[in-house]
């Protein structure tokens, strides 16, 4: 499959200093690709060159085969982006801002705008002026703006800036959805390793404008502790069974039990439940991350769960 974005020998010098130095990358459709590096490594400069905001000193960027310099309109048509903070017209409502952008593309009607407003969950505030928005709301509006014209390449520069953990998780779900279900090539930049690990399929590490390496984010190791959820018919009985078996820290939410367990322990727990006459409808396991622990403490987890439903 041809790359959605092809970056070759991309270089930007300011004065004599190379800010981006012979950078070459291929980003495929359907993957979430991360640009990781400390502040000042050249991530934003790279992104600005990719969307034609600044000139390219040397090398090229092609989007679906179209050179961003020589075929700007044809190339940028496929791109949705937020560069740094999503700054829009504060004296207009969120909706009017989206209408402005819609007019600059062909064939975006009211339906599409409404669809995007729903997608980012801004229905209740979309007719308020942008100056009343929180940074999180602006990020949502920025995402709506970037997705308005159904781009096949989505470029987000430091998208988690100003988002709370719940917002970050939601954004991650959105990006996953776009990459997996719609084949969008998603490019995000960040200086936070943990964030990139959670969000991306592949990560390019950049330092001093140079590519250090491209790393495929590893699969979850089987022995590590993770969250396991058991959906059962009688939660109280089940909890008693697990308590008798020595399991600690079992949470009950409705008909679901949640506990920390290693992957290898799951069949044993299930066997005990079934032996004691508890009907198990579903078993789900989820990675337990640092972020999860943070969310537990702050109570943001329920918030995120409620919003993503």
């Amino acid at each position: 499959m041809p790359a959605a974005v092809e970056i070759r020998e991309l270089t930007k010098t300011l004065g004599r200093r190379p800010v981006v130095d012979h950078l070459s990358l291929d980003i495929q459709p359907g993957e979430v690709f991360g640009l990781l590096g400390p502040n000042g490594a050249g991530k934003t400069t790279t992104i600005r060159m990719m969307v034609g905001l600044i000139s390219i000193t040397h090398g090229h960027v092609r989007i679906h085969g179209h050179d961003i310099r020589t075929e700007f309109e044809e190339a940028i048509r496929h791109v949705g982006a937020i560069v740094e903070n999503p700054e829009m017209y504060k004296f207009l409502s969120g909706y009017d801002n989206l209408r402005l952008y819609a007019r600059m593309h062909k064939g975006i009607g009211k339906d599409r705008i409404d669809e995007m407003v729903r997608f980012v969950g801004l229905e209740s505030a979309i007719h308020n002026k942008v100056k009343t928005y929180s940074l999180g709301m602006r990020q949502r509006l920025g995402l709506a703006q970037a997705l308005l014209h159904n781009p096949s390449v989505l470029i987000l520069d430091e998208p988690t800036n100003g988002l709370d953990p719940a917002g970050i998780r939601e954004l991650r779900d959105h990006l996953r959805h776009l990459a997996e279900n719609q084949g969008v090539a998603v490019i995000v930049s960040s200086h936070l390793l943990t964030e990139m690990e959670l969000m991306c399929d592949r990560v390019a590490i950049i330092q001093n404008g140079r590519l250090v390496q491209v790393q495929t984010v590893r699969e979850q190791a089987p022995q590590e502790a993770q969250w396991v959820e058991f959906e059962v018919d009688a939660a109280d009985t089940a909890r008693q069974v697990l308590a008798d078996a020595g399991q600690k820290g079992v949470e009950v939410r409705g008909q679901t039990l949640r506990l920390a367990a290693a992957r290898d322990d799951i069949p044993e727990i299930n066997r005990q439940l079934v032996e004691h006459g508890v009907a198990v409808y579903a078993i789900r396991s989820r990675t337990k991350s640092l972020e999860d622990q943070f969310l537990e403490v702050t109570g943001g987890g329920q918030h995120a769960a409620a919003r993503s439903q």
Binding site: V51, L53, R77, V83, E87, R103, M104
Partner: protein, 319 residues
């Protein structure tokens, strides 16, 4: 392209500032009518015997001229002579002195074009600089539209705003003038003197049109230079400040330096084309053709600079 201009219009007319400008212009017209009304009441109104008055006035003026001899400067003498000639012309052609009317008032209200120019300059200077200072430029320039088109749309929207203000001024002046002083006076011709103090007449509406038209040239140049400044500076408040500074200091500076001949190549020596209809040019030897050529050259330079800077510029850093 129409969509782009529409977008720029949205950005102009959805701002409270724009409507404050419109309201201020209307207030200025009304205030001017009130002041004119007061002034004409305090003066003795022209009696039916205006011929007698003019003859008396001419006698007095002639006496002043004779008595003062060489003591008064030549320009003042010319002025006196022009007044005498005008009065005589009225007597000869049976044209009573102009009463206040909607037309006369609209003509005087042309001086409020200064306000129009001021407001239009602010909007033009803000047009691009505000996109940079707010950061919105980054989301504007990543659309499948060439930068030159966006520049054109913004310039067009700035001019449309200026045009809207002119139309507002003209209609408001005519209506307010008409309500205050009556709508007649259309037939009264407008008298003016050429450089040799000979008196000529032209239809009133033609003179009103000419006055507004010539002031529009000034307006066009100011909007264009403000627009260029807007491209050059990233801070909208700085762009507005520089534009207004040029607007106010420019013509004064030209007048102060008018002894030097090179001054005639300065933009602001040429923007006021009404100098060729009434009065004398700022610098001796300037002609209408000369001014038009100078203005055209400046106009092209401003546009080329704006275009080159806007299409080539790196949109980076903080703004």
């Amino acid at each position: 392209m129409l969509q782009l201009v529409h977008n720029e219009n949205v950005k102009i007319y959805r701002r409270l500032r724009t409507w404050i400008f419109g309201a201020l212009l209307l207030l200025a017209v009304i205030a001017m009518a009130v002041l004119t009304n007061k002034a004409s009441h305090s003066q003795a109104t022209h009696t039916s015997d205006w011929r007698q008055e003019l003859r008396q006035e001419n006698q007095q003026l002639q006496q002043t001229m004779n008595r003062s001899g060489d003591k008064i400067p030549a320009s003042a003498k010319t002025q006196l002579q022009t007044q005498i000639n005008e009065n005589q012309y009225r007597l000869d052609h049976n044209i009573p002195p102009a009463e206040n009317s909607a037309w006369d008032f609209a003509n005087n209200a042309a001086s409020l074009m200064v306000l129009v120019t001021l407001f239009a300059a602010v909007v033009a200077a803000d047009s691009i600089a505000s996109e940079f200072s707010s950061g919105a430029i980054k989301l504007l320039l990543i659309r499948p539209v060439r930068r030159s088109k966006i520049l054109m749309a913004k310039y067009a929207a700035s001019l449309l705003f200026a045009l809207a203000l002119i139309v507002e001024l003209a209609i408001a002046a005519w209506l307010v003038g008409g309500i205050a002083f009556g709508f007649d006076g259309f037939a009264t011709p407008y008298l003016y003197a050429d450089t040799a103090s000979h008196i000529h007449q032209m239809p009133m509406f033609a003179h009103v049109l000419a006055t507004y038209g010539l002031k529009c040239v000034n307006l066009l140049m100011i909007v264009t230079i403000s627009f260029m400044i807007s491209v050059l500076l990233r801070s909208s408040s700085l762009a507005i400040a520089v534009s207004l500074l040029l607007l106010f200091v420019g013509s004064t500076l030209v007048r102060v330096l008018s002894d030097h001949t090179w001054v005639k190549f300065i933009l602001f020596a040429n923007t006021d084309l009404t100098q060729y209809i009434e009065g004398t040019p700022v610098v001796k030897g300037m002609t209408l053709t000369f001014s038009i050529i100078v203005l055209a050259v400046y106009f092209i330079i401003f546009h080329v600079v704006s275009w080159v800077m806007f299409t080539r510029r790196d949109v980076s850093g903080n703004g």
